[in-house]
Amino acid sequence: MGSVVGRRLAPVILTAIFGIVMILNFFLNIPALASFTAEAQRMFVPIVASAGVVGGVNLLLYHFTSVSRRRGDWPLSALLIGTFFFFLVITITPGLESFYALMYPAIVGRLKEATWALISLFMVSMAYRSFKIRNLETLLFTLGCVVILFGNAPVGEAIWPGAGKALRWFMDIPTMAGMRAITIGVGLGIIAYGVRVMLGYDRTALGEFSEVG
């Protein structure tokens, strides 16, 4: 019994309650709701933060098993555990702030920046692989891309003075129209999904699949 309530009913009801409260608070001016949501949202910080800790423990467990079973690249796993605790300690220990401010940007920060810098190279190879003019659609796709690249570079403006203007027009008129329509569609999709979840029709996100039919 307890488990049926816990498993099926309670999650749907809680989702619906919190969802409806959020919606009403947005559209209507009810002071009690406003203070409730403000307080509730402050109370989420520890919940979300706990999830972060769970995630960290999950990662550690995986790599501890790797090390203890000497599975695959276990020395790398050991290194991972080592860096984990190193950065955990320097983050939370009071008095190490300046050391943290020195180490974090130099190691993790640099790595993050390096992986993000790969994106531009990756995108060039994506363009090389997929921008082949097969029909009118791919022609437009490629044309848009080339115009924007040309227009944004100062070189482009030097070769063709109208490039900057062309870029503004492509961005402000057709691109804006297309992206706006996607935005409207996604907004509607979210509402439809929200209604499905709150009415209990779609419980997949709560760990339960709907029957076919």
Binding site: A34, T37, A38, Q41, R42, F44, V45, V48, A49, G52, E97, A101, Y104, P105, V108, G109, K112, E113, T115, W116, A117, S120, L121, M123, V124, S125, A127, Y128, R129, F131, K132, I133, N135, T142, C145, V146, L149, F150, N152, A153, P154, V155, G156, E157, A158, G164, R168, M171, D172, T175, M176, M179, R180, T183
Partner: protein, 280 residues
């Protein structure tokens, strides 16, 4: 070599070419000219128009990964803010990296160079987890939400916070955002509720999404990536790192266009040889 092979080039050659053309201008700059766009000028004018003694909320909503694009922008905008008589309050809702980046930018500028004092004219509250939900909580009552600043100073000792309650006291929100469409969050949660004016800058990835908000007037101008930063540096007369990078970027784009042309040449050649004639 037949043209058909051009479709199956090893992408590593393209990578190599791209790397060479982006590195070369850093070693010997070309100094290509730069035009200032309207959007950048609007941002400049909006920040200029903040009344004396007004409060600006500075949203440093980027992560370490965005540093290349947003750091120059942040430095340029902060320089401009510090030359005028406004209070700058910053809370980061995006990533735990943001306060570090903000600190770095402020150190680079030097508060003392502009006769500003920490806690009186500027404060950095660090990062708060929870994104949109926490942003709402801050907007309603900042004092109930914040306890200490990034360096552990209690809020009661920061005189900048004395007259500040929440989003209603903010004259302008500047959101420099990377990765996620953060200005949109301020629009949703603060502008629709408190009527706050919002401006900012965005990394190029999300810029197209925000263009429609600029067009509809919800956003007062927008800095576009490092190009916007370079233009802003020109506007405040402090040429910096963004302008230097523009040359490399220009050449990089040309390589991308070249890659697209090569791949299409190869594609059409292979099509021709297969069908024995041009057939689009």
């Amino acid at each position: 070599m037949s043209l058909e092979k051009l479709t199956k080039l090893d992408t590593r050659w393209i990578y190599l070419l791209f790397i060479i053309v982006t590195v070369a201008p850093l070693i010997s700059p070309l100094g290509l000219p730069l035009k200032i766009s309207d959007d950048t000028r609007i941002v400049f004018d909006t920040i200029d128009a903040v009344p004396e003694g007004g409060t600006v909320f500075f949203g440093s909503d980027m992560g370490m990964g965005n540093r290349g694009e947003t750091q120059a922008m942040m430095v340029a905008v902060l320089r401009h803010l510090f030359t005028s008589d406004v209070k700058v309050i910053s809370v980061c809702f995006y990533s735990s990296d943001s306060p570090i980046l903000l600190e770095e930018a402020v150190n680079e500028i030097g508060l003392a160079n502009y006769d500003k004092e920490y806690g009186v004219d500027f404060v950095n509250f660090g990062f708060y987890e929870g994104r949109e939900a926490t942003l709402v909580a801050f907007g309603v009552d900042a004092h109930a939400f914040l306890n200490v600043d990034y360096y552990g100073t209690p809020i009661s000792e920061l005189s900048i916070m004395d007259d500040f309650k929440g989003a209603e006291d903010i004259d302008l929100v500047i959101s420099l955002s990377g990765g996620e469409i953060f200005p949109e969050v301020y629009l949703r949660q603060w502008q629709t509720i408190h009527g706050t004016k919002v401006t900012g800058g965005a990394v190029a990835m999300i810029y197209p999404m925000l263009v429609s908000y600029v067009a509809s007037g919800q956003l007062s101008g927008l800095l576009a990536s490092s190009r916007g930063a370079a233009e802003y540096e020109l506007l405040i007369n402090k040429p910096g790192s963004a302008i230097i990078a523009m040359d490399s970027q220009s050449l990089g784009h040309m390589v991308t266009i070249l890659a697209i042309i090569i791949s299409n040449l190869g594609y059409f050649a292979s099509k021709r040889s297969k069908k024995g004639g041009l057939d689009i």
